[in-house]
């Protein structure tokens, strides 16, 4: 399988180059080819005009390509100075080669000074620094290698606005020093703020390379999601989208199945409002990192909200754990199917009955006959392709695993089913079957909250769409307003 097909990419010295695309677009594969984690199957890499081949990340580092990974990758309980120099500390000549601490500290101070962080005490424990500072320290570690190319993989995903601004100042300073910087991000305004050029990938293919100044936000979104953009002026976004606060919700909270007002959680979600009625399908739209998954997790009790108010059938509810949400008839198929969905070594049957059995508790065991009936029923009705119900679920294809997870929750007959990216990474036929199943469920009165980065799917499946941006709900579309164009506008719009 080809994760990346014939992508040309160039980086100039002294530029900040944003690399964009939805999950699975091939960004990380491209980075891994550049940093020697993967060997590219074809094509070649030139650094400063000379062809290079990297057998390992260490080769790439020596050649002058340093990478800061999304998960920071530093050691929390070592000092700042050690984190910057770990593995290449200057040592004394005499045995047993003790580390020259004064030199380590001096080097750390130098690297931090390039980032404008001269005041930091490098003997402090890393864990005592804020995430933003840790991010900068990771960059300092990369700079200690005196690289010519610096790759930053989603450096802003856990930073707030001020911290981002500070990071961008640093990046501009480094650009001034002649470094080439590749910067992966999902946030559109960040591209406007720092990037000189933008490369957009989609489905492993190059969509385009553009100068950031010449690119409007709406154009960028349409490039990323792969929809043609009809030159609607960005400012006219309000033609389709209503502000949430301005009475956008049609269904009053009396007949609502679930209503959320201002729910949020420190560090993951700012402020989300929306309601959903029985038999309604509501879509959550927004770019990656806009708070879609975070909203789903709060509604399901997987994370505990620390602000706002949640009402189920008009009564206030607080979910401390998924167990509570399930008791209220809420179900969730998570975004990360492998880590959070399937129980890999258990059979398809056991995976399907798990949630129902967990809800009925320890004492009431579903009889074996009932289990088989349920499992076989869903295997037939959802078209799960599997030899028999006793096959371990890990042996199934992604699409069939997803259908089995859908079956797990359908078995509990939930009032509200939250589907987080139910169609990601699965084949076209399975996609169609899952969308059809969603339609059937709605007609039976089940409410559906649908999250997908495929706008077309959202528009097809949903009667109402809540648009998220920067971890807030910013707009709501309903009825005839729900078109790809309008959603695109709302996503791309400036802050309301």
């Amino acid at each position: 399988m080809l994760a990346l097909g014939g992508v040309d990419f160039s980086l100039r010295a002294g530029e900040i180059h944003a690399l964009m695309g939805e999950n699975g677009a091939g960004k990380s594969t491209l980075i891994k080819c550049l940093t020697g984690v993967h060997a590219p199957a074809g094509g070649d890499i030139h650094l400063a005009g000379a062809p290079v081949r990297f057998g390992s990340p260490r080769d790439a580092e020596r050649a002058g390509i340093s990478t800061v990974y999304q998960e920071i990758g530093l050691i929390p309980h070592l000092s700042i100075a050690e984190n910057i120099c770990l593995g290449r500390e200057p040592v004394h000549r005499f045995w047993p080669h003790p580390i020259r601490w004064s030199a380590v500290r001096a080097r750390a101070r130098d690297a931090l000074a390039r980032l404008g962080l001269s005041g930091l005490d490098v003997r402090r424990e890393l864990a005592s620094c804020s995430i933003a500072v840790q991010q900068l320290i990771a960059i300092a570690r990369a700079l200690d290698m005196s690289p010519r190319v610096l790759i930053l993989d989603e450096p802003t995903s856990s930073l707030d606005r001020d911290e981002c601004a500070r990071l961008f100042d640093v990046l501009k300073r480094l650009r001034g020093q002649g470094l080439g910087i590749i910067f992966i991000t999902h946030a559109l305004e960040q591209v406007e703020q720092v990037a000189d050029r933008v490369t957009v990938l989609r489905d492993g293919k190059l969509v385009g390379v553009h100068d950031a100044i010449a690119l409007s936000r709406a154009m960028l979104v349409s490039l990323m999601v792969g929809r043609a953009f009809d030159h609607v002026p960005v400012a006219a976004g309000s033609s389709g989208a209503e502000g949430v606060g301005s009475g956008g919700a049609k269904s009053g909270s009396e007949d609502a199945l679930l209503s959320a007002r201002g729910i949020g959680r420190r560090g993951s979600l700012e402020h989300v409002d929306f309601t959903i009625a029985p038999g309604e399908a509501v879509g959550l739209a927004g770019l990656l990192g806009s708070g879609r998954t975070e909203t789903a997790r709060l509604l399901f009790g997987a994370d505990v909200m620390d602000r706002g108010e949640l009402r189920v059938r008009g009564r206030a509810a607080r979910f401390a754990a998924p167990h509570d949400a399930i008791a209220h008839g809420i179900a969730l198929t998570p975004e990360n199917r492998k880590a959070e969905g399937i129980i890999p070594s258990l059979s398809v049957r056991e995976n399907i009955i798990l949630a129902l059995q967990a809800r009925s508790g320890f004492s009431k065991r579903l009889s074996r006959a009932a289990q088989n009936a349920l499992a076989c029923g869903f295997i037939t009705s959802l078209g799960i392709k599997v030899g028999n119900a006793e096959t371990p679920i890990a042996h199934l294809s992604g699409g069939n695993q997803q259908k089995a997870l859908l079956a797990r929750w359908l078995a509990t007959e939930p009032a509200l089913l939250i589907l987080d990216e139910p169609t990601r990474g699965i084949d076209v036929a399975s996609k169609a079957e899952i969308l059809r199943a969603i339609h059937d469920m709605r007609s039976k009165g089940m409410a559906i909250l649908f999250i997908s980065s495929e706008l077309e799917e959202v528009v097809r499946a949903c009667t109402r769409v809540v648009v998220l941006r920067d971890r807030r709900s910013v707009a709501q579309l309903s009825g005839v307003q729900v078109t790809e164009q309008n959603v695109l506008n709302a996503v791309a719009q400036h802050h309301a």
Partner: protein, 331 residues
């Protein structure tokens, strides 16, 4: 700022506080407690446990665990006794052979753990059984050692005489313990290998991303543990003046307990050999006090040790919760 600097050594301060408190209690409760002899005996009686605990500290700091310590010590001691008494080898050569065997054994365990990704506790558990069986296979009964060199280690002739205490001397075993302590502290604190042990224990994935050879470091850690277990076995042999294949049952647990009481995180990444040394002294002091008290039974030592382990585990959790709830101080 000062708090941020103090937090990493907080558990260590608590350890020394407990040590001082127990010693003060002993001095207060028993008239002859605060004497050179008590301190000297404390060190002599616990020298081998101290070395074992230092070895355990390396492994635990790297995020692993070694349950084979006690058996390796027993195996070492009977090997030395057999070589000296039956093979007529000079003790120093016997010690060297035993320590080399310990290192080899550690390397085997390390390879199984890092190359084949077997759980450390399972491999070292098998190592515990294996070394114990090997000890009995070498010789099934304990052997007294009559060599002059060996007996000299406990009496005055091979000891450091102290100028300040009349007739006070420190046996060579204690000197060996202190030397090993110093060497281990230097290694962990001031060499690349030592720092990478902390890094691997704290976050192995990050350490790998930073380009550290994680597997090789793990193997080396178990080699160090094997070497130090064997050294502890040598000290034990000198202490007992004999080799005994049945000795040191469960000693690894005492060593691990000392490491935990010494403020080292069992998860890895945080701690120090100095703390482990203090932990050994705490365990030793408890036994000394029980011996002074006379009518308290010896099993109280185990219960108190268990309680202290729990206390320190809770302390670690409390500290980490506290630092999380306060949030990292703004940089």
């Amino acid at each position: 700022m000062t708090l941020a600097r103090l937090r990493p050594i907080g558990p260590l301060l608590v350890t020394f506080g407990v040590l001082l408190a127990i010693f003060a209690f002993g001095c207060f409760a028993f008239p002859n407690f605060a004497s050179f002899a008590v301190v000297r005996n404390l060190l002599v009686d616990n020298a081998f446990l101290g070395v074992a605990a230092i070895g355990a500290t390396f492994v635990i700091l790297s995020g692993g665990i070694d349950l084979s310590v006690g058996s390796v010590m027993a195996c070492t001691s009977i090997l030395i006794a057999t070589l000296i008494e039956r093979g007529h080898v000079h003790p120093i050569a016997a010690f060297a052979a035993a320590v080399a065997a310990g290192g080899l054994f550690g390397a085997m365990q390390g390879l199984l753990i890092s190359r084949f990704e077997l759980p450390a506790f399972l491999v070292t558990l098998a190592g515990l059984f294996f070394a114990r069986g090997a000890a009995f296979a070498i010789h099934s009964q304990s052997i007294g050692i009559g060599h002059v060199f060996v007996s000299a280690t406990l009496n005055e002739s091979l000891a450091f005489h102290l100028p300040f205490a009349a007739g006070g001397s420190i046996p060579i075993t204690v000197v060996a313990l202190l030397a090993i302590l110093l060497a281990s502290w230097t290694t962990l604190r001031h060499t690349r290998f030592g720092r990478s042990v902390y890094a691997v224990g704290d976050d192995a994935a990050a350490a790998a991303l930073m380009g550290l050879p994680v597997r090789a470091i793990r193997v080396r850690v178990y080699v160090v543990s094997g070497l130090l277990s064997a050294c502890a076995g040598v000290l034990f042999t000198l202490y007992q003046q004999s080799g005994d294949p049945a000795a040191c049952k469960g000693l690894e647990l005492d060593a691990i307990a000392a490491v935990v009481i010494g403020g080292t995180l069992l998860r890895g990444g945080v701690g120090s050999v100095v703390g482990s040394f203090a932990g050994v002294l705490i365990l030793g002091l408890i036994q000394t006090i029980i011996a002074f008290q006379g009518n308290l039974s010896s099993w109280w030592a185990r219960i108190v040790a268990g309680g202290l382990v729990l206390l320190f585990l809770c302390l670690h959790r409390g500290l980490s919760k506290l630092s999380r709830s306060r949030g990292p101080s703004p940089g």
